[in-house]
Symmetry: C2
Subunit: 221 residues, 2 copies
DNA sequence: TGTGACAAAATTGTTTACAATCAGTTCCAT
DNA sequence: ATGGAACTGATTGTAAACAATTTTGTCACA
């Protein structure tokens, strides 16, 4: 733990991109923070050329913003766009939930119900971290069970852009009490192998997430 | 028109990426075709460095595939993935259609109906090119009217990956006769400002596109 | 005190040269 | 003939040097 911000050494452009992406995801690099090539090169033990192409790639992914001759910054996603992202995720995760409902095996259904039980327990004991973990597990499990790799990749990319707002949301008191029944409804529908209902429940859940983001911004700042 | 494959001169990495993207879209660069850096550099009048970062960006976009020390190729999208792409587009364009239905003005509705009329005329006169144009116009207009930029960008990126299959489809005899009523149903629903029905019609249409791709591949090769 | 011109520093953009790797070929021993 | 070691040409990977640009700092002057 000598160098706090560096997990492992990056050798090529892809590695550097991965590290920067992880740092943004972890909140170590915050929106609008300048990304000076020389600094990043030293920090990750890579050449400046590698850092440069990594920044190009991250720009395509929408995580980084570049201005000619004025360098790169962590892109600050405006609220309106964050809501758009949730709306798109809503459509895609609804698709995934529906597909999961048509493909799920009995063993996988049990796995899903287990996630539901642990989320319920987390709400009862007031363990926010455990609830957040359950939330992540549920969404990623459904995406995996859908077998839709294109949707999975798209959702991943979009979610990375909106990390900033995810944190805000879990900090909101009473949020988990509200979203728990939504999550359980999704699990029930998928386990009951009802694609239409699973999609509907997922859409409803993510629309509520969108509304919560909108509201938290309206009141927060 | 001295150099057939080059439209304008590329000076930086973004320009090169644009040119290569356009060439792939136009079918000048076909799947699995090798992309030799030195050749591209000469062809587009750019340095090899710029070509290199352009290839990195296009790899992130999913248009190009790179293998370490063995260069870049135009990525060949397998059929299964093309179907996934249509499925994702189905979810996203349904979202756009629904949003368009809630936001559309009278003038925009007339614009949409006009597209419908020209598509109908194209089918009656057997003008395939005009029908393809109408198809493009309709989809892009709905996406624009939705005001959902995130969805728009995502759809664009996905469609670029699946160009190969779009061509195939329009070559199929009787395809336009089948899809015309689907298109008209979408237009009617959006103009009637019925989001649910618009989304349903769009989903149905794109599912039929997916089925047609699957079938054309099954029989074609 | 404020403002403009100028100089210096920091940073990014671009090119070039060189190193590493791979595919194909030749050639020799078996 | 056959298999493999060594060679060759083509191509990609890497780094470092240089050029261009922006930003920051300084100072004279109103």
């Amino acid at each position: 733990m000598a160098t706090a911000t560096r997990a492992s050494v990056a050798v090529n452009a892809t590695d550097v991109a991965d590290q920067i992406r992880a740092a943004i995801f972890a909140g170590e690099l915050v929106p609008n923070q300048r990304l000076v090539e020389a600094d990043l090169a030293e920090m990750y033990g890579a050449s400046r050329g590698h850092v440069r192409t990594a920044l190009s790639e991250l720009t395509v992914e929408g995580l980084v913003e570049r201005i000619q001759n004025r360098g790169a910054r962590v892109r600050s996603v405006p609220v309106e766009e964050a809501i758009e992202i949730v709306e798109v995720r809503s459509a895609l995760e609804a698709l995934c939930a529906a597909r999961a409902a048509t493909r799920i095996t009995d063993a996988e259904a049990e796995e899903l119900r287990q996630i539901g039980r642990s989320m319920q327990a987390a709400v009862e004991t007031g363990d926010q971290a455990a609830y957040a973990q359950g939330n992540t597990d549920l969404h990623s499990t459904l995406i995996r069970l859908s077998g839709q790799k294109t949707a999975a990749a798209t959702i991943d990319r979009l979610r990375a852009q909106a990390v900033r707002f995810q944190y805000r949301l879990f900090a909101k008191p009473g949020r988990s009490q509200q979203s728990l029944p939504e999550h359980l409804a999704i699990i029930d529908a998928v386990c009951a192998r009802e694609p239409e209902e699973a999609a509907r429940a997922m859409r409803e859940h993510l629309m509520s997430v969108g509304a919560a983001i909108e509201e938290s911004v309206r009141s927060g700042s």
